[in-house]
């Protein structure tokens, strides 16, 4: 039944987008569209939840459309159900948020038709059960989001972002297409059953793995295939950015899990080596680039790259354990990865909602122009703070739980036989720890610069709190972050049907552990209890505060800033975002980035202002994409001469080819 519901949701969403085409000429049209999308997403959410909750068996259904002979097949199994749940949860929240946010959109016609289509595409990817429908849905998702990225097409950089995005997306799709071609074989068994049944040989399997890693990885934002992500995600409207970062990257991860764990059978250990190294590098580089950004939404996009890296670390560990038959450990790693998928979908949506609120309140994405918003946007500020704490993996919020589980999985890694893994896993652990700490720094910067301090521009000074829908969406997500943080047990159990299928084992029942703590392996080994921690913190904090206020004084006086006795009224004296990032830029700048610092200091007596300009470039551009683009242009330049030959020369070409072919015939025996 739920599979049908899912398909009906897709159909409904497509219908809504058609309606969006018609409606979009009216300014109010965003209300019905987003409201309808909200309802449909809730339905899909309920269906997915029902399937997981009841532990239903996989259900398939086929339609006589799509690839001739194969037809379109759809299947809902625990994995699909989980990702369907994540997708529709994100979709519902984004739609709710957009009910308020949508009114800021200048040209509704460029958003309303594509938003539901985008949701439909993501739902369809998860449901697809044959290569063709999978790729169609996958590319449809990219295409609709491309249109959304270009919704504000008058900014040249958005157009560029859209171009890079679509190009990378298509390269990824073609990589997946090649992978499927190898899996389906020369006579084309494109259904996933057929692919499961056919076991490719070791070489082919390795090739498929690499292709899928690059295909799904480019969509998820693995370094160095991530370059499109920080361009495209910020360019879209904020509720779409939330979907792209929070959900679409997860769809990419779904594709990876589906093909590598499900279709490809038992992984080989060296695959995990590659996945782990890429994941670790992605986690650290992502957060480092995030630290360097001044654009709030771009910072969030780069932090998405980081979290994708964390998830891939979990998946890589799962592969390593699975390859060596350590099923319980594999289950732990898989759980960690999937839990982080869920968590990241939550808090990244929250953060993008917050960023959207900031943008709609101030019209500024550049943090250096913000500040002091905690006074102007009190509710948004609270929600955003919770998001920041959650993504920085701070207890008792949900981000910490998944990272904690990942650490636990890493600590089991000593049991692995292969030396390569034994060297890789501790390194990855170190990278993971580093990325976690840097993430905290990154989000202290983000929050401190944007929301704290004194407003750095008139826009920030006169900002006002956003509408109720947006706020309610943010509050709901914030609560979910808290709930997932203090009661992870039920969620972990919820994941077990999914994990069971691929790891071959499941973690022990968590929900009814004493004091609702989570004990992944054994209570003697490790356990964590968010609820108690929260309890302790609240009691300790509140008790202390009360005691101090009661027994000591509660007198408070407002006065000017002291600032060591040299207070300066100009807000420019505050620490700026780039100056906050400076120490870390110094530490890593030489090795990781190509940092250009240009100082223009006026000579003594000159009255003009001094200038200090920092340019941080993503080395991926320098190392990979720049050369490739230059090569393509050079090739086209040199070939282009053929456009300007004389007829006689063209005839000569024909003649030469003819003679060549005749020689071939003459030589043919």
């Amino acid at each position: 039944m739920p599979a049908f519901v899912g398909l009906w949701c897709v159909a409904a969403l497509l219908g809504i987008s058609a309606a969006g085409v018609v409606l979009s000429r009216w300014s109010w049209s965003f209300v019905p569209v987003y409201f309808a999308s909200l309802l449909v997403c809730l339905a899909g959410l309920a269906a997915a939840f029902w399937h997981l909750w009841m532990g239903l068996p996989p259900e398939t259904l086929g339609l006589q459309i799509g690839l001739p002979g194969t037809g379109a097949r759809f299947r809902l199994d625990p994995l699909a159900a989980f990702f369907l749940l994540v997708t529709n949860l994100g979709g519902a929240l984004a739609s709710l948020y957009a009910l308020g946010y949508g009114r800021h959109e200048q040209s509704q016609a460029r958003v309303l038709p594509f938003y539901p289509a985008y949701l439909a595409g993501m739902n369809l990817v998860v449901l697809a059960d044959d290569a063709f429908s999978f790729l169609v849905a996958w590319e449809f998702m990219s295409l609709s989001s491309w249109a959304l990225v270009l919704s504000n097409h008058r900014h040249p950089e958005n157009v560029r972002a859209g171009y890079v995005y679509l190009l990378m997306a298509t390269c990824g799709t073609l990589a997946l297409l090649l992978a499927f071609g190898l899996l389906a074989g020369a006579n084309g068994g494109y259904t996933f059953e057929a692919i499961r049944a056919s076991r490719p040989d070791a070489f082919a399997a390795g090739l498929v793995f690499l292709l899928v890693l690059s295909g799904a990885g480019s969509k998820a934002g693995l370094v160095p295939l991530h370059i499109w992500l920080p361009l495209a995600h910020p360019a879209a409207p904020s509720h779409v950015s939330a979907l792209m970062s929070g959900v679409m990257t997860k769809i990419a991860i779904y594709g990876f899990i589906r093909i590598v764990f499900d279709l490809l059978g038992t992984p080989v250990w060296w695959w995990s080596l590659i996945a782990l190294s890429l994941g670790g590098i992605t986690a650290v580089l992502g957060v480092l680039y995030a630290l360097m950004q001044q654009d709030l939404k771009r910072l969030l996009a780069y932090s998405t790259v980081e979290n994708v890296g964390i998830i891939f670390i979990g998946l890589g560990l799962a592969m390593a354990f699975r390859a060596n038959g350590m099923q319980l450990a594999a289950a732990l790693a898989m759980t960690a990865a999937l839990l982080h998928v869920f968590n990241h979908a939550l808090f990244k949506s929250l953060l993008f909602f917050g960023a959207g609120a900031v943008v709609s309140a101030t019209g500024e994405r550049n943090m250096e122009k913000l500040g002091g918003l905690i006074h102007r946007l009190p509710r948004t500020a609270v929600a955003f703070l919770i998001g920041c704490a959650a993504i920085s993996a701070l207890p008792p919020l949900n981000g910490f739980v998944s990272e904690w589980l990942t650490f636990q999985a890493i600590l089991i890694g000593t049991g692995l036989p292969q030396w390569g893994l034994r060297f890789m896993i501790p390194a990855v652990g170190a990278l993971l720890a580093l990325s976690a700490a840097l993430a905290a720094a990154c989000f202290v910067k983000a929050y401190g610069i944007a929301f704290l301090g004194r407003p750095r521009s008139a826009a920030a000074r006169n900002a006002s709190e956003v509408d109720g829908f947006s706020v309610s969406a943010m509050v709901i997500v914030a609560m979910l972050c808290f709930a997932a943080g203090i009661l992870p047990g039920p969620i972990v159990d919820f994941l077990q049907p999914v994990v069971q299928g691929f790891a071959g084992a499941r973690l022990p029942e968590q929900t009814f552990m004493p004091w609702a703590s989570i004990v992944p392996v054994a209570s003697s080994r490790s356990s964590y209890n968010g609820l108690l921690i929260l309890l302790f913190l609240v009691t300790a904090g509140v008790l202390t505060a009360l005691t101090v206020h009661r027994l000591a004084t509660r007198a408070t006086r407002r006065s000017d800033i002291w600032d060591c006795g040299y207070p300066d009224a100009t807000t420019a004296t505050q620490y700026s975002g780039s100056s906050f990032a400076m120490p870390i830029r110094r530490v890593f700048g030489t090795t990781v980035f190509r940092v250009h610092e240009t100082v223009d200091m006026p000579r003594p007596g000159e009255t003009r202002a001094g200038r200090f300009h920092v340019k941080v470039t993503d080395p991926a551009w320098r190392l990979f994409y720049g050369p490739i683009a230059r090569m393509a242009l050079r090739a086209s330049k040199s070939l282009n001469r053929l456009q300007f030959l004389t007829i006689r020369r063209y005839l000569t070409l024909v003649f030469a080819t003819l003679v060549l072919l005749l020689l071939v015939v003459a030589a043919w025996r």
Partner: protein, 324 residues
């Protein structure tokens, strides 16, 4: 007499609460001891050992002065910092292992708890919108971003030896002495010391006694604070020191702790040994501090990188073979 479950429950609660209060009680004293000893080493009389108690008392009774644009975060942060540090300190086994709630957070969680406190304080430092606050927060986070991974690597190496991240279990394994002396443990110890120095803002990374100096980190962050809020922050700092001391004691010299059978004399011995250990550490710290000079800010990465390297090496050795 027969011990009913209810009574044991009460006993355990009492034990846990006792530890909580213990750390809170001795924290200023430890700080005082270190200051006193440092003063003596510098040939000064120095303030009395209980001076920190007096300072806290004084601060608590002063009115708190807030900047006009200080937000609620600014006022909540000190309590949050205090709470996290206190809970963290209370969850580290001091005189006895297997206390009631010791399992509720393992070592990783405790490290993360400290990170939560730091997060709050760094934000608070940026709330007033001053240059000093910004410097402090930025440098604090930079140091943390290097110290925390190092600390986690220490945790890894210990956990890999003990096969658990649960402090009580670690202690109960190490206490038997079956582990013996390990290269990796030595490296972990080294890294731990470095991290502890950095985290507690001691020389050579930071100077708790300094002010109005562009090299200060922690003090710059809390520059705007006054009254009870400052008291909370000071108390938290003291608690953090105790936390690291007892962590050191629990991980590297767990001997003398009261194990499974808890009766009066085991508890007493545990208590005595714990206090002795803390005292020793509180003497060693200022000696070390007076021996070295404070570093430039951009030397920290090398210092902490050393810690990181040591921890990483320990973990590598353990991954390669369990016998290191």
């Amino acid at each position: 007499m027969a011990v009913t479950p209810a009574m044991t429950m009460i006993f355990e609660l009492a034990a846990q609460a006792g530890q909580m209060l213990l750390v809170l009680a001795i924290a200023p004293l430890v700080l005082g001891v270190t200051r006193k000893i440092k003063a003596r080493l510098l040939r000064r009389a120095g303030p009395p050992t209980w001076q920190p108690y007096i300072d806290l008392w004084k601060l608590l009774h002063k009115e708190a002065v807030l900047a006009h644009n200080a937000s609620w975060l600014y006022r909540v942060a000190p309590y949050l910092l205090f709470a996290t540090t206190w809970v963290g300190a209370a969850l580290v086994p001091t005189y006895a292992i297997n206390l009631m709630f010791s399992w509720s957070a393992d070592l990783i969680a405790i490290v993360a708890l400290l990170a939560t406190g730091r997060f709050a304080l760094a934000l608070a430092g940026m709330d007033a919108g001053t240059a000093f606050g910004g410097i402090g927060s930025s440098r604090e986070m930079m140091i943390a971003s290097l110290a925390e991974p190092a600390m986690l690597l220490v945790v890894f190496s210990v956990a890999l030896i003990a096969g658990t991240t649960q402090l009580s279990s670690v202690a109960s394994i190490f206490i038997t002495g079956s582990i013996g002396l390990r290269v990796s443990l030595g490296l972990a110890l080294l890294a731990f010391v470095f991290v502890a120095i950095a985290e507690n803002a001691r020389i050579p990374v930071d100077n708790p006694a300094t002010h109005l100096e562009l090299t200060m980190v922690h003090e710059a962050m809390v520059l705007e604070y006054s009254g009870r809020h400052l008291a909370m922050i000071e108390a938290a700092a003291a608690l953090k020191l105790v936390l690291y001391f007892s962590l050191f004691a629990c991980l590297f010299v767990p001997f003398g702790m009261a194990t499974a059978d808890m009766n009066v004399d085991t508890v007493l011995t545990g208590l005595m040994t714990y206090l002795a250990k803390v005292l020793v550490l509180a003497t060693l710290l200022p000696i070390g501090e007076t021996a070295v000079a404070k570093m430039r800010v951009f030397r920290y990465p090398i210092f902490l990188g050393g810690a990181f390297a040591a921890g990483a090496l320990a973990v590598f050795l353990l991954f390669v073979s369990r016998s290191f």
